[in-house]
């Protein structure tokens, strides 16, 4: 802890050892949150790590204003989301993914399809096609184990809004992937 305080020269974090300890505590879980949020957008580990680094650095710079832990995690999640989107747009990958997701031909039974790399690729394309608010809730829900209360806290929106957005997101994802599955009537 003190080592961290010593390594953070000349900023608000150095206002006191308590503040340094708080930031140190955030280093235990917030980098993973930032990384996973970025990964949900970018689907590339190296890019996600860069974005998580940038989000944490911004958090450090503003830490003296972001001391409440619940709000801090939400701030990290939202910042990582925005930075990841910026990076994605800058790289011009969005259009490629959407065009890749456009083809949709029934290929397999659901049991076979879900295990395939193709399903993950199609799912990623369908996620890209979701409206941003639905996609954000879906990614955060997956990170938080589909705990709607946690997602509501992170996004600072009502839990009911999270539930309705999650339903819409899962419905749209299922419907967009439905066309890939050959339906075999059961007995």
């Amino acid at each position: 802890m003190d080592a961290l305080a010593a390594s953070l020269p000349g900023t608000a974090v150095n206002q006191g050892a308590a503040l340094a300890r708080e930031f140190d505590a955030c280093l235990a879980d917030c980098p993973q949150l930032a990384y996973r949020v970025a990964l949900g957008v970018l689907r590339n580990g190296a890019d996600a790590e860069d974005v998580a680094q940038e989000a944490m650095l911004r958090a450090y710079r503003n830490f003296h204003r972001l001391r409440e832990r619940a709000h801090f995690r939400g701030w990290i999640a939202r910042t990582a989301w925005r930075l990841a989107l910026d990076r994605l747009r800058a790289a011009g990958r969005r259009e490629k993914r959407e065009s890749a997701a456009a083809e949709c031909v029934p290929e397999a039974r659901i049991e076979d399809l879900v295990e395939s790399h193709e399903f993950q690729r199609r799912l990623a394309g369908a996620m890209e096609a979701l409206p941003e608010k639905l996609r954000q809730v879906m990614v955060l829900a997956a990170i938080e184990g589909y705990n709607t209360r946690e997602v509501a806290t992170l996004l600072e929106i009502p839990e009911g809004t999270v539930r309705s957005r999650m339903f819409l997101a899962r419905k749209q994802l299922a419907e967009s992937l439905r066309c890939l599955v050959k339906n075999t009537p059961v007995g």
């Binding site: 961290l4 993973q32 650095l57 879900v114 339903f167």
Partner: protein, 238 residues
């Protein structure tokens, strides 16, 4: 034919969002319809696969070097002054002090109007364009701060007051410039916190003029007694 009715319910049912009555009706239908039954099961499996797929998409964590790399970047950050926090405290104190004085004076003024003339000494904060409104008093003009002029005058209760009353406040020693800036901020909707902080730093400096004969103010909780005493004095003089 009834399959058309239930096809729209299948996704909601698979995602657990269908009402109890509708789900029971769908179950009854699916029991006798292999097509809807298989469709329902397929969508449920697909929804579960979607959840697992999104979880897989965000699984994992940053590399073990992540924190070390972050600390290295933090160490490269340019040193910044701790001043913003201190300045914030000073701004807060100056603002609170000015606000408390305004509240106290408004209380006394209101009480004075209700109970009759009571002599109070005030400092009037007014924009330069409003000076004529209070020029009837024997006033002392203070050098202006950012276009705002300071006037001191003695006002005898409600007697002879002009139609236009600018805000009147008593300002603690050394807080005048901060109060003027605050007053300007209230009227313009813009408060420069940095400038207010700089002005608040002058709180240790003495006032450069002392022409006011300021009567001691009672605390708000003792306001009633103060007004009564003032009224009694006024009665004695009359």
């Amino acid at each position: 034919m009834s399959c058309e009715k239930y096809s729209g319910w299948l996704t909601g049912a698979a995602l657990g969002a269908l009402g109890d009555a509708e789900e029971a009706e769908l179950r009854a239908h699916a029991a006798g319809c292999s097509h809807c039954r298989s469709e329902w099961e397929m969508i449920r499996a697909l929804a579960a696969a979607v959840d697992r797929g999104v979880e897989a998409m965000v699984a994992g964590g940053p590399s073990p070097q992540f924190v070390a790399r972050l600390r290295a970047r933090i160490a490269e950050e340019p040193a910044r002054s701790a001043r913003p926090l201190v300045a914030f405290r000073r701004v807060g104190l100056a603002t609170l002090a000015a606000a408390a004085v305004v509240v106290a004076i408004l209380f006394v003024r209101t009480a004075g109007r209700e109970r009759g003339p009571a002599e109070v000494a005030v400092v009037t904060l007014t924009n330069t364009g409003q000076q004529s409104a209070v020029s009837r008093t024997s006033s002392l003009e203070h050098p202006s701060v950012d276009g705002t002029a300071l006037r001191g005058h003695r006002a005898a209760g409600a007697r002879g007051r002009p139609d236009f009353f600018p805000a009147e406040v008593l300002v603690p020693k050394g807080q005048m410039a901060a109060a003027l800036l605050l007053s300007e901020g209230v009227s313009t909707g813009r408060i420069d916190g940095g400038q207010l902080a700089r002005l608040a730093e002058r709180s240790a400096e003495p006032l450069d003029w002392r022409a006011l004969d300021i009567q001691p103010l009672a605390a708000p909780s003792a306001g009633e007694e103060a007004v009564k005493a003032a009224n009694a004095d006024e009665g004695d003089r009359n």
